[in-house]
Symmetry: C2
Subunit: 608 residues, 2 copies
């Protein structure tokens, strides 16, 4: 491709709203332009790299046995009503009405469409497993789109949905997708951190996120410092840690608990100051409201007669609402995502003051586990090691001291619900944990029966009995992956593309595109092209400095400079330079095509 007949509007200025490198460089290198907030147009150079990422994703999905299909972007709202997400999804779902007043959705993901397609075709267990995917336009109506395509409104996602007759089959595909994802990111030259993750609003269990480190990332990752030896990595929403307490169930040396006056003291900090002790000697008790609870509560205190309801004919019956007292050691925070998972609740939130007062018969700030009979008590494991603690006394301005778990109170449920922090111990090796901020590029998870049940998908098993298949779901953001490549591969002068996703492999810069220089530049371009190397020939009538700057900015992996002087040598010489190295060198012009071809193939093979 000749530069002068191409369209690469490079910029010297940085767009004012571009705070991260990929956003800045995608604009400056002429890869991208803005149509509106969160809506971007890929220009020719950017689209070439975009398509390469897409193709890598496609190849790895195909290699893993997934089959590509193409449903529509605009999907009937009816399907979303069947699944329940029409109501459950917030305002980030772009809803449309057409001229006939029918409801449609501009797909943010496509569980419903894929489930509907499979529902109509599935009859026998012999058709399973089935893993279908698309690489297609998605829309999420972000309130505050930013960071360029890293968090845009319209984007392209590869989303796959698999259907299974048994747990093992689901797990096999889930693992195969995990391997495919590792290969995808490896081929793009990306260092990803696969982390254990909670599947959040998507439902189901068994979930892994593929993260890249990013200062503007919207996920906190918990990682083990023993890297190389230990690969523990988890989203903070899901992370656990090794116990930092010694289990000592005996309260043999603890005096009986007794009331202490704590006038107007409602927070742990106030208590610490007042009692001149550390927060970890306190039991923090909070009241939570949970909604749409799947967990069986018939054994829970006070809820023996609570009734379940169905939100849709196919969905399992749930408890619409219930309140819980939740206790954890005073220096720790309750992880609401873990708490919701434990309760199998759609959502948990701190109860409002009115509810707290009504349910505990005490002003806010004095809840505690001792003598609590009005709510089921859920405690973190840390509580079980507390045998001489301070806790709210369920009376205004009063706490208890010398409270011992087991002796003075018992819990209905003991679970890991703590929020892990930097400095906690790794659950695998005991090493120190630290945190990073990360951006999610991919996510694989086991959805279970959430959609197949609500949308009534069945097949006949070997015995002719009707069964519901389980599902897995696997997504990769193409735009975000591309932007992340630039985040990881750039320097102060521009992008430094890995060969696998570079828009071109070689840029040829004739000092002046004329006469013998032109002739030889054309010849080299033709030779390289014939060898399958992608060449951009900078035939513009610009100063060499301008061409060099644009070559650095656009990040083409290899640069060849052809000039009169070099060609006039006894053995004609051209200068080659690898974008990611500082040094350039002169080589025999007649060997340039072969050498460049070899070096580029080497890098492509390394990435493959």
């Amino acid at each position: 491709m000749n530069y002068s007949s191409y369209f690469i509007p490079t910029l010297r200025e940085v767009p004012s709203d571009a705070v991260i490198a990929s956003h800045r460089l995608m604009f400056r290198a002429g890869l991208l332009r803005k149509l509106a907030n969160g809506l971007f147009a890929y220009l020719p150079l950017g689209l070439r790299s975009f398509r390469k990422v897409e193709q890598i994703v496609r190849e790895e999905m195909d290699a893993a046995g997934a089959l590509e299909i193409k449903p529509t972007v605009i999907v009937p709202g009816e399907l979303w009503k069947e699944s329940g997400r029409w109501d459950a999804m917030g305002e980030s779902l772009l809803r449309v009405k057409n001229r006939l007043d029918n409801d449609f959705v501009v797909s943010p993901t496509a569980e419903e469409a894929f489930t509907a397609i499979v529902r109509d075709e599935l009859s026998s267990y012999r058709q399973l497993p089935l893993n279908l995917y698309q690489i297609n336009t998605k829309f999420r109506d972000e309130v505050r789109p930013r960071y360029g395509v890293m968090r845009g409104r319209e984007f392209v996602m590869k989303d796959a949905y698999s259907f299974h007759a048994d747990e093992k089959s689901l797990d096999d595909t889930y693992q195969a997708m995990g391997r495919a994802y590792r290969r995808i990111f490896q081929r793009c030259g990306l260092s990803v951190i696969p982390v254990k993750a909670d599947s959040g609003a998507m439902g189901g269990s068994g979930s892994e996120e593929f993260m890249v480190e990013s200062e503007i990332g919207d996920n906190t990752l918990i990682l083990c410092k023993n890297q190389g030896k230990c690969d523990y990595a988890a989203n903070v929403e899901k992370a656990s840690c090794a116990p930092d307490f010694t289990q000592d169930n005996t309260a043999a040396n603890t005096p009986p608990y007794e009331k202490i006056d704590t006038p107007n003291i409602k927070t742990i900090d106030d208590l610490c100051a007042f009692l001149k002790t550390e927060s970890k000697t306190f039991i923090k008790t909070l009241i939570y409201r949970a909604v749409n609870i799947e967990l069986d509560l018939s054994s829970a205190p006070v809820y023996a007669k609570l009734e379940r309801k169905k939100t849709s004919p196919e969905a399992p019956a749930v408890y619409p609402e219930a309140f819980f007292a939740v206790a954890i050691r005073g220096d720790l925070d309750i992880n609401e995502v873990k708490l919701a998972a434990v309760l199998k609740a759609a959502e948990v939130n701190l109860a409002g003051d009115t509810d707290v007062v009504r349910l505990t018969n005490t002003p806010v700030g004095f809840a505690g586990p001792v003598g609590l009979t009005t709510l089921p008590l859920v405690i973190d494991h840390t509580i079980t090691a507390m045998n001489d603690a301070v806790a709210g006394a369920l009376e205004k301005d009063l706490h208890y001291k010398h409270v011992a778990y087991g002796r003075d109170f018992k819990a209905w449920m003991i679970e890991d619900i703590r929020t892990v922090k930097a400095g906690d111990k790794c659950p695998l090796c005991g090493g120190e944990l630290f945190t990073k901020m990360g951006n999610e590029l991919g996510h694989i998870f086991k959805l279970g029966f959430k959609y197949t049940r609500s949308m009534n998908v069945t097949y006949l098993d070997e015995n002719g009995k009707s069964q519901i298949p389980s599902m897995g779901c696997y997504g990769v953001g193409v735009d975000r992956t591309l932007a992340s490549v630039i985040e990881e591969h750039h320097d102060e002068t521009g992008i430094v593309w890995p060969a696998s996703v570079a828009p071109y492999h070689v840029i040829i810069i004739p000092i002046k595109y004329d006469g013998v220089v032109k002739e030889n530049a054309d010849k080299l371009a033709a030779e390289l092209t014939k060898a399958g190397i992608e060449v951009l020939l900078d035939d513009r009538n610009e100063r060499p400095g301008v061409k060099f700057n644009d070559a650095d900015l656009t990040g083409i992996p290899w640069r060849v400079v052809i000039g009169d002087k070099g060609l006039a040598q006894e053995i004609p010489q051209v200068e080659i330079k690898r974008r990611r190295e500082k040094e350039n060198r002169m080589i025999d012009f007649n060997k340039a095509a072969a050498e460049l071809t070899e070096r580029i193939r080497e890098e492509l093979e390394q990435l493959a």
Copy 2:
């Protein structure tokens, strides 16, 4: 690809709403499924052919120097307000509001987005010409979507937009796109009819449509019977014909015109019966209302003082509304598209009865050119040859006879505004014209300054003077092209794919996928794949009859049947059969790969 791990849900039944072959066969062969009215999902086999059409389009666009970009599907409504199409487009435009109450459009075409992108980057004539395209999702909210993907709501279109500094440059690109389109359809194995077309609501002039014949087509094509010798072809909206009258301007033998009583006779048919003569002796005069007229009306009777208005700051001033008397020979119809073009009006419609009475001071049915002073008179060329005609007398129940053009009335404007019919004479060779119904697959046209002017796009010319570039616009429907391939290439048992867009080139059918048959089937598949031939191996445990039917239905160009018997011959034999031929033949198994490869390459080259 092995059939058993693929997803090809073939059907014996025909979907009840499928009335055309492509719709029927795309469903029966497992290429397509319906998500909702006008919304379809391509299944794996269908998507393979779809992508091949897409790739042919891409290659031809690239070869013609167009550059691919990727704007969004959801486009800011602001841009459509700038161009004026937010209001001008009817309800087929799907409009969306997001959570912030911003207006968006689900793109049906992308003049605005491309013009906006170029507007921001264009500064100098040196950047022109520029031809940008996308292959992307489009949406048109059809009231009555039908015929499968032939007229769906969501579809994929290749749309290109070119920008130019002068008319010659626009014409060069327009011609290059025309050549690219001919190649695209040729490569897909399609017989298209390029026809002259009116550009309709898109504005501009210079326009060609690429049609395929179709009984359910929504366009009437006018074609010359002298095929092979004459290539005249036009959309009826634009078609012209050779004069079918002899120009005889003298009314020397015509008596003076005189009134005749025609009580209650208002139609040409009534008049014919009443006067016992033919309709072509009558002058048919109709009153039309035109809106947003660009034509200069200052010379028109009664409109000397009519004022122009601007509909937007950048658009040229237009006359919001004006009425015209329009006359044509009694046996012919007025072509409203041609009339609108002649008047440079956004739209023309027959005036309502109240307006007719008000403007002619006569009841409806008695308008005529003689003595008409209240309206400008526009006549078709046929009128100029009428020197002894019957015409309305502008009085209730009265007509004139012996009316002669030139002697008894004159026209403000004489134009070709007749609707051409089968039996009329070819304007090029005089041969007989006939009609066909056609579906539009592609359309190229010169837009002129419509968008660049309304959206304020400028560049500096060689003299540093600000200029507005002209535009061309070029579209191909990918889904429709694919469906048309099936319309043209099928028989009673299924699809008969041309090799260029076939999902696979060869289907191998082992009589029983086991033992030595399996071994040799796998070997042949591997050999063909290595040679670049795309192979589907039917490894299913099904009766041969079922496999043969599915092979015919899915239309794979070559079928190979491998069985025990053939392999056991002294020289092992397999049966090969070309889908489009009746005969099969046995060939040496060891030469099968080479022979098939050669035959497929031959066909691919013929199509290239």
